[in-house]
Subunit: 276 residues, 2 copies
């Protein structure tokens, strides 16, 4: 038997657990190392320079762990700083943007596609550039909107509250006015709000974590065979930079089940390995 | 002429500018050094250990600047980690909790007092302990509620949105059910929502930044004399750990006017001076 494949997964906090959930469901026999930078979360309102600095520290840590692949389970990092992760990683890197953009183009009859995410993700134009690159600027219309309040609502678990629906309605109005038929949920927190979003918007929703997982599966040469392990028995080491009192509850929200006590990690002390 | 008084003011981010606004209004001739840890903001959902670590770094930086006093313009730090700031500072330290608790007790006829704040502030019980200590447990009733969504709403500038009012109504219901007549706005972001809160709750509101400023004034032995300088000409050096794209707009929201380009500061590299 060969050694098991080891995949490093990192995020600004607990949101990436919604991506890990897809990974352990589809690929439960892989070993995972999850890094959540909960001491500095969120990244979505921060500058590109700071996001890149933090991402480099997570990538450097995962490289030191000798993983075979890195999944950037954070749309903000995937949008603003994937290049620095690729420069550090020395192994294949899968981000959230490209697989989701391809899936949206395949699924959208009108090619009028909406993108919602954090401020940093939307300002990067990463999704729009990917959609235009794969679909052609003449064929594709992209309507983007930053939705920072949805992050807080998802973390608080206000998934079906009337205030949540009112906020979603306001955020999605510019997208629906432009008659998009597909919306990319460009933040790991947003799949938790999928039902609320579907109540407001009669469109197809794209969960980048799911499509990134399918891409990982292809890279590993995996068939869609029944897996022998269940997701809950997948081997995951959890590293977080802070364990706030509500950590267990929020983690359950994103992952779907309890995790044990995570390891504490100080990313601040990690000096990124030079990309040269 | 003697050298001007120099006061260090620090916060997890831009929220403390709502406190600085009171300081420069009441004491415009003082020189201020403002530190906002915008690269790691917010603190309110983080653990006490992490909050204390970050606060120690800000206090160490301000000590190195030779300030005459430190104002902890962050309710979360004031509630969870004032002791470590006092141990490092070597100068008087003014936090948000004690002045606000005294003001609430003076102003509340029924002594039924509500406190809203971040999760970390409410879990620390710092306001409740101060209210009971000054007012007596037999005379005072304290009803506390963590309101994390209000932080995001204030930063987004949704100050009078119907969704904001609905969220405030839900958060304040347990306080109003207990018939509080006074509410302490135990987070620097909440004074921005004072009008919305007043629409929902017919109570007196206590802004800790204002009462902390009055306390600073007493410590400095200042009379309430007309000041020769206007707040806008007060000398303030701004240090922040990140400058996101929306920084100027959010800062204006809290301070009431534009500030110039702030200095960049890396708090991560600052090793707190031992308190021993």
């Amino acid at each position: 038997m060969s050694a098991p494949i080891r995949i490093g997964v990192f995020d600004s906090g607990v949101g990436g657990l919604s991506v890990l959930r897809h990974l352990i469901t589809e690929l439960p026999h892989v070993q995972y190392i999850y890094v959540g930078d909960t001491a500095r979360v969120p990244y979505g309102n921060k500058s590109v320079a700071t996001i890149a600095h933090y991402a480099a520290q997570s990538a450097t840590f995962l490289r030191s762990k000798g993983v075979d692949m890195i999944v950037v389970a954070c749309n903000t990092v995937s949008a603003a700083a994937l290049d620095i992760v690729e420069a550090i990683a020395e192994v294949p890197v899968v981000g959230m943007i490209q697989p989701a953009a391809r899936a949206a183009l395949e699924r959208s009859p009108s090619k009028r596609i909406g993108v919602i995410g954090t401020r940093a993700t939307i300002e990067s134009d990463a999704y729009a550039l990917a959609l235009y690159a794969h679909g052609g600027t003449e064929n594709v219309t992209v309507v983007q909107h930053a939705c920072p309040l949805l992050v807080a609502l998802a973390e608080e678990g206000w998934l079906a509250h009337p205030a949540t629906l009112a906020i979603i309605e306001e955020y999605l109005r510019p997208l629906l006015d432009q008659a998009v038929d597909t919306i990319i949920l460009g933040c790991t927190h947003f799949p938790l709000l999928a039902e609320a979003i579907e109540q407001v918007a009669p469109v197809a929703l794209i969960d980048p974590g799911y499509w990134a997982t399918r891409h990982v599966k292809r890279l590993l040469g995996e068939q869609s065979l029944p897996q022998q392990r269940s997701p809950r028995t997948a081997r995951v080491e959890y590293y977080v930079t802070d364990v706030p009192t509500n950590f267990a509850a929020v983690a359950r929200q994103f992952l779907g089940f309890e995790i044990g006590q995570p390891h504490r990690l100080s990313l601040e002390e990690i000096v990124p390995i030079s990309a040269e």
